[in-house]
Symmetry: C2
Subunit: 262 residues, 2 copies
């Protein structure tokens, strides 16, 4: 049986919103919540059993084992400098793109990262059992603590260095941020041509589901992988009026052609 | 009650494989199958109740109302010239990227398109009810026939001109072919860095599901939409060793920056 931990929370955004209750469901004790956005902080506190709403980021009174700082990436240094964390408390951030050293200004020497590799929205359910948790800490015993904490939430908990997390993040930008943007481009083309984007949704969903199942290299379709130059040219002609889209079309098609053409 | 149609099939690839039995389940009579790939043609015929296996693409003997030519895009002109279709039979192809005029050499003057907007694989189930069917025909009465035929299969049947189908196809290349390629790139980065691509799968699935639900414009995340230049530069540095990926990263990030920066 894993240890029941006393946990403090900084932030009241999407990550804190889901992580707080999930930690309580896993048996931990949320002792204090702080967020500069008072309204959100109160709403989050109401989702928790008996966490104190702190008016200042001073956690020394509630004596947590761990304080989880779930704030926007660019606020981490500021929030770290502001927080008062006792030296026997472990402070972690939850960012995938910021290194452990982003906690450089912390008042505690025990620092770490507790990164749930998922995108969170307040109105969408999260099943933490299937959210990979990537942890890192300056001290081995803290790393063990985070692994143990992670295992109470998720089936997939692993250590990952800040350097590897950066590489993972680059991959995620290609796989998620850019793919979403391509959907936006697709939707805009449809809209500009008075066509219904809804028509494409079943194809998009099946393409992705197949890609994840058999592997994207085995799932590539389209004119570029077929070497169908006639269609590529017809599409480039259509994109004449949108030169920046034409450029993106050309770069990605060329990359596919080069990868698959023998 | 829709009319029970006599249907002929040219081709034995993934589309024919699913479309044939689906048409029979919808109450139609598959009367003949022809494919130059004899082995596949036999396997497809076995999936059908009483369709004849034709040794030549001559459908005059089995008197179909409609012959559906489900062959690879670049084979359409050749297969059309070869097929013997009576003048009271409607010939349609199933391609999303080829115009109606690709059937120019047909022996019948009744020509059309019956395009199921989905990707098909022999070993994946297809629920035609949720596959949009886009139809087009040279004659109004044939268009009506295709709409009627389509409605026996799918809840979403609509007419679309060849010109609009080309625009739809460009959108689909962005939304499906290119997104799949970005997953391939992502997987390769992970592999090169000895990281497990499996870690990213829950994030990819949730990103897409959210994007389709709330709309991709509302779902954009990542360093570019945040204007997080520090992270963008860190990623570009990491991609220094892969200049073509760096170029794709740069183009897509710039496009996102320009779209969302006020």
């Amino acid at each position: 049986m894993a240890k029941r931990l006393r946990i403090g929370l900084i932030g009241s955004g999407n990550v804190a919103w889901h992580l707080g209750p999930a930690l309580e469901n896993a048996g931990h004790h949320l002792v204090g919540v702080y967020s500069p956005t008072a309204k959100n902080a109160r709403a989050l506190q109401k989702r928790l059993y008996e966490a104190q709403l702190l008016s200042e980021p001073d956690f020394t009174g509630v004596q947590p084992h761990v304080v989880i700082m779930a704030v926007k990436d660019d606020v981490i240094p500021y929030a770290t400098g502001e927080a008062i964390i006792g030296n026997n408390t472990l402070l972690v951030h939850t960012s995938g793109s910021k290194p452990l050293s982003a906690l450089g200004y912390a008042s505690t020497s025990r620092k770490g990262v507790f990164y749930p590799l998922q995108t969170f929205s307040k109105d969408r359910k999260v099943d933490f059992q299937h959210v990979p948790l990537l942890v890192e800490a300056e001290h081995k015993e803290d790393e063990r603590l985070l692994l143990e904490l992670g295992k109470t939430l998720s089936k997939q908990v692993t250590t990952m260095s800040s350097a590897n997390r950066t590489k993972l993040h680059v991959s995620a930008v290609f796989a998620c941020n850019f793919t979403n943007h391509l959907l936006t481009i697709s939707q805009q083309i449809m809209r500009n041509e008075s066509l219904d984007f809804e028509l494409l949704k079943p194809l998009i969903a099946e393409t992705l589901s197949k890609s994840l199942e058999i592997g994207p290299e085995n799932a590539q379709t389209g004119p570029a992988v077929r070497g169908d130059v006639e269609t590529l040219e017809k599409h480039m002609q259509f994109l004449d009026k949108a030169p920046r889209l034409a450029e993106i079309y050309q770069k990605l098609s060329q990359h596919i052609l080069d990868m698959y053409t023998p």
